[in-house]
């Protein structure tokens, strides 16, 4: 990307360096203010009453007993919502408070504000709700034809993709049925926010979220307030991974603040958090792959059903993604794909890192291994043979115009050396079963598995995706302001790095992330912010620099082309003029706000054809696992990965995303699942929803960061957050299959899936 502004020397702490994050010190000291750390004089505590039933009619609600509890200031329900009674990302189908019917366990029915959090909880328990319990709809195959559980119907989204010749056949065909369970984002910082009523009749919300402006729009509609009276200010976010894209208690909290006339804070318990945010869509997938005798893919057919749960959330785009990426990063001349998201009385599902691409990757990579076995081909060789390249046509008919180093990530990953030794060489605590010391070494088998995956970057299918950022230069001080949400990924560091490269200054100040006075930066999701907010910040900084140089040139009556910014100073190329930024500005303040848009995308037609995506990112994983054949316990000993990153803007932060995403993929492979029993969540706690600890999480060897700058990306970089969570899960399961000889068509793989299957088969692998 050609810059408007010439910067001579290489900037210190600019792009490409492992620059220290600006919020690291306060976080390490415990001084960084998360949304759950907020406080205000005279603050009340709020708490929500939630449905214990997955499906029921509400026959009566009596709030009076809660109002009678000493210390309670307000109790609110559905009748207290002045504006639109529902909200939602794709469709406003989710009630702020349930009143006639509850559709999932945990659905909010009422809210209490009191002088102590324990009082608020006790008062909520005093509310009397009578239910007529009804049979929950939880079968996703039957859901589409079952009686509707919502007036908008039980089909949330359907996407067909028909590519090439639907009747094409190949010499070899393999089929499979695959399932992925319900994964939870399980971020550490619980849902929490503080609402402060304002003298203008509006409200200021201090909160953790993924997208300030989309929350603002929904809240304003429910409160019947104009958006400029609903002001959102970003507080510290303790991780997100998709779970904060939908609102949690923003509306209910605002209502409590406006009713009481006092600041009110809500903090979820961990159990509430498990119930109170969307989860990853469970998937049921029927697949048929056919290939010629050389292993070239001929056709992929897939039927995918996603469990959307009780409300729509972002099921539209998740379904579209599942369909578009259903065959994987391969050249597929013919395909018939159908993907449907259905409404059930299970907990609502929505965005989680990988967003539809994760589920299908598990299926298509299992299929590729089956094809390889049927053809007696090496699993890596069959993938290389079919790997996408720039210029290939995707299932949607779109030509892959950007970089596509699929073969490179496969080769880098597969070519990395395997760990020396095996399970016999590790200490007891590093065997499956760990500190429990349950393994008998002779019964531990090592397996190796491989997978490659991909997905889109940014939003798709005609969505107007943009990011706003502002740069201000005042008395030599550079300030970048963006409402883009920092969730831990290091976006704040990147903003400073970009500004440093433009101005050559050491210090870059960051303004507040708020809806007030600045437009949207879009969501922190879809691996989009490095590209989108990176582009907006670059544009805003360059605009200020350009106007500064023009101003100096005009004042000194010299040609503009002679000037550059270098090392935090304004200079002419011959050195005759050399001014500090402050002196160059000559008392003037320069401020520019830029809206950055990516090239427009098309909607998909009824056959799923169209240029729906901007860019794609690819990654491969290789897993080494040790399996206890008797107990079915698995230890993931090592993960190796290679990823298509475009350009590394901050190496340490890229490594952080890859290691963190890989760990989440490992968790989904062997331990993470929201266990549902007819709509009831059986494990809403860290005791029973198990995420990888430091003992479970394997070392991650990064065998390759493939840097092929992406044309059109502001800095050549691709987003890196999601790819690590896509191919990691299928690689682990492939390794378990290698160790056990079992089919294993469902994730997470549980000990009983291995131990009981082997016991039944009485199989032993030499």
């Amino acid at each position: 990307m050609t810059s408007l502004v010439e910067t001579a020397e290489r900037t210190r702490a600019g792009l490409g360096e492992s620059v220290r994050r600006p919020d690291g010190d306060p976080k390490a000291k415990g001084e960084f203010e998360f949304s759950s750390d907020l406080g205000w004089e005279g603050m009340l505590w709020g708490h929500l009453l939630r449905s214990p039933h997955p499906s029921a009619r509400i026959t009566s609600i009596d709030l009076a007993p809660a109002l009678a509890v000493p210390g309670v200031v307000a109790v609110l329900g559905a009748e207290d919502v002045p504006g639109r009674p529902t909200y939602g990302l794709d469709y406003p189908d989710q009630p702020v408070f349930a009143s006639e019917v509850v559709r999932y366990v945990g659905e909010p029915i009422a809210a209490v504000a009191a002088d102590h959090p324990l009082t608020a909880r006790r008062a909520a328990e005093a509310i009397v709700v009578t239910y007529e319990v009804t049979q929950p709809l939880v079968d996703t195959v039957l859901a589409a034809d079952a009686p509707p559980i919502h007036r908008l119907g039980n089909v949330l989204m359907h996407q067909d993709v028909v590519h090439g010749d639907p009747d094409a056949t190949g010499a070899v065909t393999v089929e499979g049925y695959y399932e992925t369970g319900m994964q939870d984002q399980a971020f550490m910082g619980p849902e929490s926010a503080l609402a402060v009523p304002a003298p203008d009749g509006g409200v200021d919300l201090y909160l953790a979220t993924q997208w300030l402006h989309v929350d603002q729009d929904q809240i304003a509609a429910c409160l019947a307030l104009p958006p400029d009276k609903v002001r959102l200010h970003l507080a510290g976010v303790g991780g997100a991974f998709g779970a904060r894209e939908d609102m949690s208690m923003q509306v209910q909290l605002s209502l409590l603040a406006l009713r009481t006339g006092r600041p009110v804070k809500i903090v979820y318990s961990r159990e509430e958090s498990f119930l109170g945010h969307v989860h990853r869509h469970p998937a049921r997938m029927w697949y048929r792959h056919s290939a010629d005798e050389h292993g070239n893919l001929v056709k992929v057919e897939a039927r995918i059903i996603l469990d959307g749960g009780a409300y729509h959330s972002s099921s539209t785009a998740v379904t579209l993604n599942a369909a578009c990426f259903a065959a994987g990063p391969y050249r597929v001349p013919n395909a018939v794909i159908e993907a449907t998201a259905v409404r059930t009385n299970n907990p609502p599902c929505g965005a989680m890192r990988g967003f539809g691409a994760v589920q299908v990757c598990f299926a298509y990579e299992a299929q590729m291994d089956k094809l390889a076995a049927a053809l007696r081909m090496d699993p890596v060789a069959i993938r290389l043979r079919n790997a996408l390249r720039t210029g290939d046509r995707l299932l949607t008919g779109q030509v892959l115009a950007g970089t596509a180093p699929v073969a490179e990530v496969i080769q880098a990953c597969a070519g990395a050396p395997l760990p020396a030794g095996g399970p016999d060489d590790v200490p007891d605590i590093a065997l499956p079963g760990g500190a429990g010391r349950t393994a008998e070494r002779s019964r531990v088998r090592r397996g190796v598995g491989f997978a490659v995956g991909f997905k889109n970057l940014m939003y798709s299918a005609g969505f107007d995706d943009y990011a706003t950022a502002r740069c201000r230069l005042e008395e030599g001080r550079v300030t970048v302001t963006s409402p883009a949400v920092e969730v831990g990924q290091g976006l704040v560091t990147l903003q400073q790095q970009i500004a440093r490269d433009v101005f050559g200054v050491d210090e870059v100040h960051l303004g507040e992330a708020t809806t007030s006075g600045i437009g949207s930066a879009g969501s922190t999701s879809a691996s989009r912010q490095t590209w989108m907010t990176g582009g907006a910040v670059q544009g805003a900084c360059e605009a200020v620099a350009d106007r500064l140089l023009s101003s100096v040139a005009q004042r000194l009556e010299l040609p503009r082309a002679r000037f550059e910014i270098s090392g935090g100073r304004v200079r002419t190329l011959d050195g005759s003029v050399d001014l500090s930024l402050a002196d160059a500005a000559h008392g003037r303040v320069f401020e520019e706000t830029v809206v950055y848009r990516h090239p427009p995308t098309d909607e998909l037609d009824e056959k799923g054809q169209g240029n729906a995506h901007v860019s794609f990112a690819f990654a491969a994983h290789r897993a080494v696992v040790d399996v206890d054949l008797d107990l079915g316990l698995v230890r993931v000993a090592e993960m190796t990965t290679a990823q298509d990153v475009g350009r590394v803007l901050n190496p340490l932060q890229v490594v952080g995303q890859i290691e963190g995403g890989t760990s989440q993929g490992v968790g989904f492979a062997v331990m993470e699942e929201i266990v549902l029993d007819k709509g009831i969540v059986r494990n809403p706690s860290f005791t029973d929803y198990i995420i990888p600890t430091a003992l479970d999480s394997p070392p991650v060897h990064i065998a390759g960061l493939i840097e092929q700058p992406e044309p059109g990306s502001p800095h050549g970089a691709k987003g890196v957050g999601e790819p690590p969570s896509i191919s990691s899960t299928p690689a682990v399961v492939a390794a378990i299959r290698d160790a056990t000889g079992l089919d294993l068509s469902r994730v997470p793989v549980r000990p009983q899936d291995i131990a009981l299957a082997l016991a039944v088969l009485d199989k032993e692998r030499p």
Binding site: S18, R20, R21, D23, G24, D25, K27, A28, K29, G30, E31, F32, E33, F34, S36, D37, A68, V69, P70, H116, L118, R122, A126, Q185, A186, F187, M188, G189, G236, G238, G239, F241, V267, R270, P427, I429, A430, A435, V487, G488, Q489, L652, Q653, V655, G656, E659, G660, G661, S663, S685, F686, T687, I691, P692, T693, A694, L695, S697, P699, V700
Partner: protein, 171 residues
């Protein structure tokens, strides 16, 4: 339904070497709640309030505890150290804190205070802990962002720096 009036208490807690008088507190309040909401030490975090995640880690009489699982009143008469007590008074960072930031072990940061406490405690007791021993010692601190890779690198960095310093001083 009758509402039982909660019992209210006054007591003194010794935190980071200072005495804090807690007034009119509900008996059911755990130590984490009192540290944060009554004493104003917000560094210890609440990610589960169940003793599962370690984000509330403190030292009580030198032993690593989940402050969410202790009734605050039961901490009376004991020496409590929080992450604030492990932070130097001069505005800088401890070597553990510095390593966490420099090595990229801090992403969202919610687990960080609990890990600073755990790691500070571990390295004081077992300065030569192997990687596997470190993993076991911090297995009670859940992190969702990092996959623990950079956290282990931070611990290694502190160990190496302390060993080098000890050598210099001739220990």
């Amino acid at each position: 339904m009758t509402t039982v009036k909660p019992e209210r208490l006054d007591y003194v807690l010794k935190v980071n070497g200072r005495e804090h008088h807690v007034h009119d507190a509900d008996l059911a309040e755990n130590l984490l709640f009192v540290l944060r909401e009554r004493i104003g030490l917000m560094g210890s975090k609440n990610a589960c309030e169940q003793g599962e995640c370690g984000s509330c880690s403190v030292l009580v009489d030198g032993g690593l505890e989940c402050s969410c699982t202790m009734l605050a009143a039961s901490a009376v008469g004991r020496e409590i150290v929080t992450v604030e007590g492990m932070t130097p008074r001069d505005g800088g960072l401890s070597d553990v804190q510095e390593a966490f930031v420099a090595e990229g072990a801090v992403q969202c940061g919610f687990c960080t205070p609990g890990l600073v406490v755990s790691v500070t405690d571990l390295l004081a007791r077992r300065p030569d802990a192997t990687e596997l021993e470190v993993r076991e010692a911090i297995s009670g601190n859940l992190c969702r962002c990092t996959g623990y890779g950079r956290i282990l690198a931070a611990v290694r960095a502190v160990q190496e720096e302390r060993a080098a310093l000890a050598e210099q001083v001739g220990l």
